[in-house]
């Protein structure tokens, strides 16, 4: 859960439409309309990165009248699906994925089960990436990938599909770095040998979730309406 106290604003007139703010926005809150940046307040998670990035120095953060709470509660989704997704990704449910907001992996997984289909949507739903925006990314992408989402690079290098985890290290890699503590760390972090290399969710797996596409479509529609 993240409590968002600030929102980005800008002077529209001098905006050159360079898109640099759009590229670094973690929640898809900025889009370019007629070569000007437009910020959707309800999607902004207050990270301030656009303000720092703007080469024209025409953006700033302002305090929200009321803080915006971004969260996906456990009871909003089927917990068995959340647990299965975490297991597939090899991520412990209680670990803080976003260490700036202390958002646990279980909440990120819940957002995906609820319908988030890319990194922007996960961030917008949970407030993840409202802080440093860096260390939480790979686990979130891995959870998306485990759910069968397309994590390939979107336009504007917003993210790259990098989700390698300890569980994916091949025998060849282990042999190349015999002092890499791979087996030792696996024994520490997965003593019960539950985690496997990540394979994208199979059609059969996704068939177990018949309402997923509906949820994704509904979420996309909601975002379009918000805009």
């Amino acid at each position: 859960m993240a409590t968002i106290k600030y929102v980005a604003e800008l002077h529209v007139e001098p905006c050159t439409g360079c898109k640099l703010c759009d590229i670094v926005c973690p929640s898809g809150a900025i889009e370019m309309v007629a070569r000007k940046a437009v910020i959707e307040d309800s999607l902004c998670i207050g990270c301030g990165r656009c303000v720092d990035r703007c080469p024209e120095d025409i953006m700033w953060m302002t305090q929200r009248a009321e803080p915006l709470v971004k969260t996906v509660r456990p009871d909003e989704v089927d917990q068995t699906q959340t647990a299965a997704l975490l297991e597939r990704a090899g991520i412990e449910p209680n670990v803080s994925i976003c260490v700036c907001t202390l958002t646990p992996a279980s909440e990120i997984a819940a957002a995906i089960v609820k319908g988030a289909s890319n990194l922007d949507e996960v961030s917008e739903m949970t407030g993840m990436r409202s802080g440093c925006g860096i260390y939480c990314v790979a686990p979130a992408l891995r959870l998306l990938q485990a759910a069968g989402a397309d994590v390939s690079t979107p336009k504007g290098h917003r993210w790259y599909p990098c989700t390698i985890a300890l569980w994916d290290v091949s025998d060849a890699a282990r042999a190349a770095y015999p002092d890499g503590f791979i087996d030792e760390d696996k024994a520490v972090f997965d003593p019960q040998h539950r985690f496997e290399p990540l394979t994208t969710a199979s059609p059969e797996t996704r068939a177990d979730e018949p309402d997923r596409d509906q949820r994704v479509n509904a979420l996309s529609a909601r975002r379009r309406e918000t805009r």
Partner: protein, 465 residues
Amino acid sequence: MSTHAAALMPPTFMPSVYGPSLRTHVATLPSMTSVDVRELFPGIPPAITSGDPADLERVRATTRASLANVDMSKITPDSSVNILASEHGFGLMGGWPYAEMVKTLREVVVEHTGCRDVRLRLAIYRGFQEADEVREYFGFDEAFDGKVKGLGPFDRGVQVDTVIGPMYLVQRAFDADLFIHAYYDDPREMYFNRLLYKSFKSFCMSYARFETRSVYHSLFGNRSGSIIPRALFDSEYIQAKYTFSSVLRTAPTGVIGIDATDDLYAIDRRITRSHLATYGRMQRLFAEIGPCVAVWDGGRWGYYLHAGGVIFGVLLTSGLDAFDLDVPVVAGFMQEPGNPVNFTRNKSVRGIVVNQAWVGAGIPYITMPFSSPMYIVGDEQAALWRQDSANPLLIDRAAVVPDIEAGMALACERGDTDKIVVFDGSYGHITCNQVAAHLLRDRAPSVDEHVERELLPKWLAQRGL
């Protein structure tokens, strides 16, 4: 043993939009003194520079000497070469020694190879304005004929295939035919990197996209993560462009030399040996301090401010021996099942008084105020913290105090301690109050012996050294 003496001044630092207006240093207070690192551990070699911009001649001469036998044959007059510099070097003794090494590096490469297209790439972390600040403050535009660009984790990436899979580096770092790894060996977060192939870390951090940084931090353990920078360095993509490394060598006393060769693995072995013997002693001495108040008083992120060459983060995690590889996790994002706490906290740090430091580290302090109450000096600084999205709840748990004396008094009273240790960017000495100075001097001999006889042999053996 020295008696009460005025504290030495810390290095000057670069002003920045990410920190408050410059304040008077805590070292100027009459209650403060300095403890010389070599008084504590006489075996640690002395520094070759004070870090002052007027005292860089030996850095320049040592850089030139270290480069004399480096094979630069890959670089031709027609080559383009990027010198890759990383941000934390500019927080080391005020940054001037590292800047001098980088400038000298360019001069020597031009002299030896006839290559004129030598560019500087400044890798920064999160603040997009930091590279411009560094470029201007250290005079890099003049030194590099304007061929200077910053780069950060949000810039366009390039896929690099490694033995453990594809990862992503920042394209701008490698937009020349060749590159030089211009590094520094400050071990900084020794509780995370554990001195396991630390010399390679830039390849999964400074030069890398945020996804790669995230994989390194969040999807591997402290120890196993060390294969990521090595896999990137050993990749065909990097090896095709790599020429050699030049590393600013440090000890807790300060800059002690320059190590340059194309064999980064050899440099790393030398650094690891040296660091275990020097920073290893300081790490264990910090664990002896016990209840204390820490003060942040420098021009970098508080977590990374030095005292006696050791960053604050080490004090905060000093409950466990960071160099003992039998300990699987000291502090990190990946944790054992059932343990949701990302960073162990030294509960002996009874308070943190922020006289001056950057905000927006992205090294979140969110859980720190639970165990170590924070005291922010001044309303201007409090306003910066209030808007710091990387630490959204910190200011809610911190007290704003009018001045540093009030902050330290309140922190000591509430923390029931009389020891104060100041992290003001100092190498060579620790700024602290008399009580802390007495304790450091008292404990150092036993730490010295314990490290020499028991810990150092174990640490070296664990690393095959």
